[in-house]
C-alpha cells in the first residue's frame, strides 16, 4: 500500500525545493505539496544581483530544477499561493481564500522579505529594492543605457549590485550607515579592502551616513542624506537587510522577529513542524542560536530537514559558508563570528589575496574569510566545526595544509 502521509513544504525557494527533492531521493512515496507565493518554479536568488541582473544568464539557467521536474516526481505544486496561517491544533495550513491543506509533517521555508526604508519619498518611482526576479527585471530596465544610481546600504546585496551596475555603465554612489563596506559581517580591516576595490572601480561611497529622504516631483530625482549630502539620482536601490517571513506562525508563539526558533534538528516545539533556511533561528551545536541568509545554508538545511521529516533526527552542524562575487573578486567566508578577539592572516590584505582566520578569546577558530584563497576556506570547515584551537603561526603560514591542523577525534 502506498504511503498515506502528506508532507507539506511552504516556501518554494532553494530550501523548500531541495527538501522536496531530498524527500523523493530518500524514497518517500507519500503525497508532497510544495506551496510558493511566487508564480514561478523555485529559482536561485544569488544571480539576481549578478549574472541575471546583468543579462548574462536567462531565467531558465537560474532555476533550482527544470520546471517539469516537480510534476515528473509527483510533487503537487501550488505556486502563486499565499498561506495565511498555520492551524497547529488541526495540523493544517490555511490558504488565502480559506482552503485548508492538512499535513502529517510540515516544513516552513518561507525565507524573508526585505526591510523597508523608513524615509519620506520611499514610494517614489525609481526607488527600488531587490529580492525577486521581477525586482531584478525592473532594476535592469530602469538603468538601461546607464543611470545615476544610489545604493542604500553596502552589505552584500548593495556591494554586489554596485559592482554589477558599474559593469552596466551606471554612475554608482553608496550611502552606508557603518564606517566601511560590509562592516557588519567582515569587520573594519577586511571591509576596507572591499571598500578600496569598489573605489578602484569608480564607486563613490559615503560612510557613516544614511538616507534622510528621497526627493522628486513624479519620480526620484535626488537622495538627501542625514549628513547633509544631496545626491542627484535616477534610481535608488535599497538593500538594508531582511526580516524573516514568520507571519504564518501567528498564534503559535513562534512568529518571532529573530526567526522561527528550531532545535538542532530543525524541529519547532510543535511536533512534526520544521523550519529551515532564512526563516529559521536554529540552535546550532557549535555557534548557538543563529539565523543566516546564506544560499549554501538553505541548500544544506533543505537536505537535512527532509531526512528529519522522515525521522532521521540528524543534528545540523554545518559550519556555514557563503561566497560573494564583486567585479573579478570572489569573497568566501566560512563559520560564524559576530565578534572576534584576533585575526590571523595568511597572504596579504594589501594585495587583496588572503585567507584571514577569526579567533575568539579562547583561541577557537570561529570563521575564515578569503579573497582568492577559497581552498583554505574550505579546508577550515572541519577546524571550525570541531571548535579547534589551531596554532596561529601555522594558520599564518601558507605552506601549512589546514587539514593537518584538525585535532584527532575524541
Amino acid at each position: 500500500m502506498a504511503d498515506p502521509r502528506t508532507f507539506v513544504v511552504v516556501g518554494a525557494g532553494l530550501c523548500g525545493a531541495t527538501a522536496v527533492a531530498t524527500l523523493r531521493g530518500e524514497g518517500f512515496e507519500g503525497r508532497i505539496v510544495l506551496i510558493g507565493a511566487e508564480e514561478l518554479a523555485p529559482y536561485e536568488r544569488p544571480p539576481l544581483s549578478k549574472e541575471y541582473l546583468r543579462g548574462e544568464d536567462p531565467f531558465d539557467r537560474i532555476l533550482v530544477r527544470p520546471s517539469d521536474w516537480y510534476g515528473d516526481h509527483d510533487v503537487e505544486v501550488r505556486f502563486g499561493t499565499h498561506v495565511t496561517q498555520l492551524d497547529a491544533q488541526a495540523r493544517a495550513l490555511v490558504l488565502a481564500g480559506g482552503e485548508r491543506v492538512a499535513f502529517d509533517a510540515l516544513l516552513v521555508a518561507t525565507g524573508g522579505h526585505n526591510r523597508g526604508i523608513d524615509a519620506p519619498g520611499a514610494e517614489l518611482p525609481g526607488v527600488l529594492d531587490l529580492r525577486y526576479v521581477g525586482d531584478a527585471d525592473r532594476l535592469r530596465e530602469a538603468v538601461a543605457g546607464g543611470a545615476r544610481v544610489v545604493c542604500v546600504g553596502m552589505g552584500f546585496i548593495g556591494a554586489e549590485v554596485a559592482a554589477s551596475l558599474r559593469a552596466m555603465g551606471c554612475d554608482v554612489t553608496v550611502v552606508e550607515i557603518f564606517e566601511t563596506a560590509l562592516y557588519r559581517v567582515l569587520g573594519g580591516d577586511i571591509g576596507r579592502v572591499l571598500e578600496a576595490i569598489h573605489r578602484d572601480h569608480g564607486v563613490t561611497m559615503h560612510f557613516n551616513d544614511l538616507v534622510a529622504r528621497f526627493e522628486g516631483d513624479d519620480r526620484l530625482e535626488r537622495v538627501a542624506t542625514r549628513g547633509g549630502r544631496m545626491i542627484e539620482a535616477d534610481v535608488a536601490v535599497v538593500g538594508i537587510g531582511t526580516e524573516p517571513a514568520v507571519h504564518i506562525m501567528a498564534g503559535t508563539g513562534l512568529d518571532q522577529p529573530g526567526g522561527i526558533p528550531v532545535g538542532p534538528t530543525m524541529q519547532t516545539t510543535i511536533p512534526g513542524v520544521f523550519a529551515a533556511g532564512d526563516v529559521a533561528r536554529h540552535e546550532h551545536p557549535v555557534f548557538g542560536p543563529m539565523r543566516v541568509e546564506h544560499f549554501d545554508n538553505a541548500l544544506k538545511m533543505g537536505e537535512t530537514v527532509a531526512r528529519n521529516m522522515l525521522g532521521a533526527e540528524v543534528v545540523f552542524d554545518d559550519p556555514h559558508w557563503f561566497w560573494s562575487d564583486q567585479y573579478d573578486v570572489q569573497i568566501q567566508m566560512a563559520g560564524f563570528a559576530p565578534t572576534w578577539e584576533r585575526m590571523v592572516v595568511r597572504g596579504s590584505l594589501e594585495d587583496r589575496s588572503f585567507c584571514a582566520f577569526l579567533l575568539d578569546a579562547d583561541g577557537v577558530l570561529r570563521s575564515s574569510v578569503s579573497i582568492g584563497w577559497p581552498r583554505d576556506v574550505r579546508r577550515s570547515f572541519e577546524l571550525i566545526r570541531r571548535q579547534a584551537r589551531p596554532d596561529p603561526a601555522a594558520l599564518a603560514d601558507p605552506a601549512v595544509d589546514l587539514r593537518t591542523l584538525v585535532p584527532p577525534e575524541g
Binding site: 536561485e44 530544477r65 544560499f295 549554501d296 537536505e303 561566497w323 574550505r378
Partner: protein
C-alpha cells in the same frame, strides 16, 4: 565514432591533482587518484565554473570552488548540490607515458 586523443604526457597529472585539457572542443579534466586516472567534464553543471581550477579533491570527489557542488570523479554523479546534473565522464588511459582520452 569517438577515438582516443593524445593530450600530452601522463606525468603532468600528479597524485591527488586534476588538470584540464581541450579535447575536440570540450574541456576535459583528468585526475589521478590512488594511481588511477579519471577523466570527466571540467565544466561544473551548476554555473559552468572550471572544476580543475581550485577544485578541492578529497578521495574520489571534487568540489567546485565557486559554489560547492561536489562530484564523484569516477562516475560523474552529484554528491552535493547546488548542481543537480552529473558531469560527463570519459575513458582515459596511459600508454607509453602518453595520456589518451576517448572523446
Amino acid at each position: 565514432m569517438a577515438e582516443f586523443v593524445n593530450v600530452g604526457r601522463a606525468d603532468e597529472i600528479e597524485e591527488g591533482e586534476a588538470k584540464a585539457f581541450p579535447v575536440n572542443g570540450a574541456e576535459i579534466a583528468v585526475s589521478r587518484i590512488g594511481g588511477a586516472l579519471y577523466a570527466f567534464s571540467d565544466i561544473c553543471t551548476h554555473r559552468q565554473c572550471n572544476l580543475s581550477l581550485g577544485g578541492e579533491i578529497d578521495g574520489t570527489s571534487i568540489t567546485c570552488e565557486c559554489h560547492g557542488s561536489t562530484f564523484d570523479m569516477t562516475t560523474g554523479q552529484v554528491l552535493e548540490g547546488p548542481a543537480t546534473e552529473p558531469v560527463a565522464t570519459f575513458p582515459v588511459r596511459e600508454e607509453n607515458g602518453e595520456l589518451l582520452i576517448e572523446a
